[in-house]
Amino acid sequence: MTTHATARPAAKAAAKPATMAQALQRAMRDAMAEDPTVHVMGEDVGTLGGVFRVTDGLAKEFGEDRCTDTPLAEAGILGTAVGMAMYGLRPVVEMQFDAFAYPAFEQLISHVSRMRNRTRGAMPMPLVVRVPYGGGIGGVEHHSDSSEAYYMATPGLHVVTPATVEDAYGLLRAAIASDDPVVFLEPKRLYWSKSDWSPEAPSAVEPIGKAVVRRRGTSATLITYGPSLPVCMEAAEAATAEGWDLEVVDLRSLVPFDDETVCASVRRTGRAVVVHESAGFGGPGGEIAARVTERCFHHLEAPVLRVAGFDIPYPPPMLERHHLPGVDRVLDAVARLQWEAGS
């Protein structure tokens, strides 16, 4: 597993830099301490503390009834969590890897996302499904999927994904506090990314549904989220050499989508590239490009372009670098934004 720098560099000489995994752990810990209805459950989340150690220590501190090693059955995990939520608990479910969430799709689509609507508000589903997602960690088959398109296409779910250590804490707290079901996508290659965020002074709870501008710029907007944020930040730095001053928007929440922040940026810059790891075809970028175009058509000097994973099953580790959108592909896309045509 590789360590990446987060978007916000740990510049200040802070006491104890924390990783995203630690911030996530802390978010659950604080939520559990504050609210006895919060329960963590999943495969290996208890004694082991999760295969990524994100739930480390929770079973010890809160007992096995609050942080439970379940049988190995994803539909069963999510399905029982639905029942627990019906009784007033707030389950936080861990799916061990992206691709192992698929057996739970029936429960997610047919029940989690629809229960509130089905019961006309009588039975909300305040649960969180944590899914480590994305590639770049050299994982063998089924350990590196970017499955966000499935979640986005399911009305009734919120879909949230942090890209920084601070947001990992703030957004997970918000997800647990939410009365709606949240699919919380954790970019697994950023688990060991560090920042000066400190568990002693945890960041504020972030509202769900607000994108944030990570870098101000004037030439074009890079729209991205999760694992691709560091790539875009690096690309933006590199782009200055070519004379481009790129703005970078971190969506943080795919559902609800923050049209306001995104469109304000694109209207300012007049050009945009959407960057994500997920396959391009049918991926999040289509929705994003389409809605930005609908809303900002007359401000656009060029079509909104997409830089994404290829339309292929996730490749084996030895080939993944050819698949993952990197700085060069982002810059290539920026170069294709028809600079001759406009402003």
């Binding site: 049988p71 069963g76 399905g79 639905v82 029942g83 029940h111 509130r116 039975m123 009365d179």
Partner: protein
């Protein structure tokens, strides 16, 4: 001990000559399987001396509910013909299971019905119109599940079983002595969710009872194409919970078995799987043509084993039911049917704007936009017409 060239390192103390094979260290039978096995034949009470042990009040109550249930089925079916109900999966012939399930529960307990089990909800006291809301084409759930402790009717088969387990588990964690009873068909037992639910229930020792109504068919597919098991109740042993096999048309037997299972669950004894052998007398739904997959002879055989008939005869024989009692039950049922008919004749009024009201706790910006669009369309429509 001679030196050997083995690639295996001898464990300390494992002296060569002391070698005596032993069973694998971790192995021990976790549960004695014998008590988990279901009865060899479906349990019956009617027609046996055990009826004498039953509370006469319970027997009369069961009878009245069966008669009401039969009438409810007939009325609901009639409503589909009149176009007042979009679809109705009838439980004619299965009333004993539906009614016993409802009566085995305390008020604080939860019922998890399948799409077919509106009668169980009605027998629990739910307003029939609310129970039929989904099937009428109105909103997906016609009642507040928390108020009635009845989960929404589950259309996707067996998917509500893990919910029942989770709810029962949560209640137990909270210290509430609440039991969940979950209903599923013979076909539904083939789904992965059935397996996962029963396994979680047994591992957690959750206070939940699974009632399988084996009515012989999953739409057109007969039991023999669904399973090769000795009985569906035999599945219990594979989860480490007791399986019970009962004549599903013997209301007293079903009630007894379910009550035992509920009591056991309430006392911390864990889950039970109950298989009730019954038969769907009507077609799968009003839209189905059952003649395509089964003969009339089979249906007639089962009519002779009708749950209402069985109980009625027994009670009459024992002097617990007379002409007055029968008439009173029939009249009570008629009143219910008349009220249902009447109320279902009124068209429900739905507000299209409710499409957006409960997708999330608060409308997203996108849903606000879409709601505004629909609002404008509706306004234009009503202006135009």
């Amino acid at each position: 001990m001679q030196q050997r060239s083995s690639t295996v390192q001898e464990p300390p103390g494992a002296a060569r000559d002391a070698y005596r094979p032993t069973p694998p260290p971790a192995w021990r039978p976790r549960t004695d399987p014998a008590p988990l096995l279901p009865e060899a034949e479906p349990l019956r009470v009617l027609g046996t001396d055990a009826v004498a042990d039953a509370d006469p009040e319970l027997l009369r109550r069961l009878y009245r509910e069966l008669v009401r249930g039969r009438r409810y089925n007939a009325q609901a079916t009639a409503l589909t013909k009149q176009g007042r109900l979009a679809v109705y999966p009838s439980t004619t012939g299965q009333e004993a299971c539906e009614v016993a399930a409802a009566l085995a529960l305390e008020e604080r307990d939860w019922l998890f019905p399948s799409y077919r089990d509106t009668l169980a909800a009605v027998a629990r006291g739910l307003d029939p119109v609310q129970a039929l809301t989904l099937l009428r084409g109105d909103w997906h759930t016609g009642y507040d599940p928390r108020e009635h402790r009845i989960a929404p009717l589950s259309t996707p088969l067996a998917t509500q079983l893990p919910h029942a387990v989770g709810l029962a588990h949560a209640a137990r964690l909270k210290g509430d002595d609440v039991v969940a009873l979950a209903m599923v068909g013979d076909g539904g037992t083939s789904e992965g969710d059935f397996h996962e639910a029963l396994n979680f229930a047994a591992v957690w020792q959750a206070p939940v009872v699974f009632l399988v109504q084996n009515n012989g068919f999953a739409i057109s597919v007969p039991l023999a194409k669904q399973t090769a098991a000795p009985s569906l109740a035999h599945k219990a042993v594979g989860y480490g919970m007791p399986g019970r096999l009962v004549d599903g048309n013997d209301a007293v037997a079903v009630h007894q078995v379910l009550t035992e299972a509920v009591t056991r669950a309430r006392r911390g004894g864990g889950p039970t799987l109950v298989e009730a052998i019954t038969y769907r007398i009507d077609a799968h739904t009003n839209a189905d043509d059952a003649t395509r997959y089964r003969g009339d002879g089979e249906v007639e055989t089962w009519r002779a084993h009708d749950p209402v008939l069985l109980l009625e005869r027994e009670l009459t024989e024992r002097g617990l039911l007379d002409e007055d009692g029968r008439r009173a039950a029939a009249e009570e049922a008629e009143t219910m049917a008349a009220r249902l008919r009447e109320r279902m004749n009124a068209d429900p009024v739905l507000d299209p704007m409710d499409l957006f009201a409960h997708v999330y706790a608060e409308k997203t910006a996108q849903l606000r936009e879409q709601a505004a669009q629909l609002r404008a369309e509706l306004d234009a429509e009503s202006e135009a017409g």
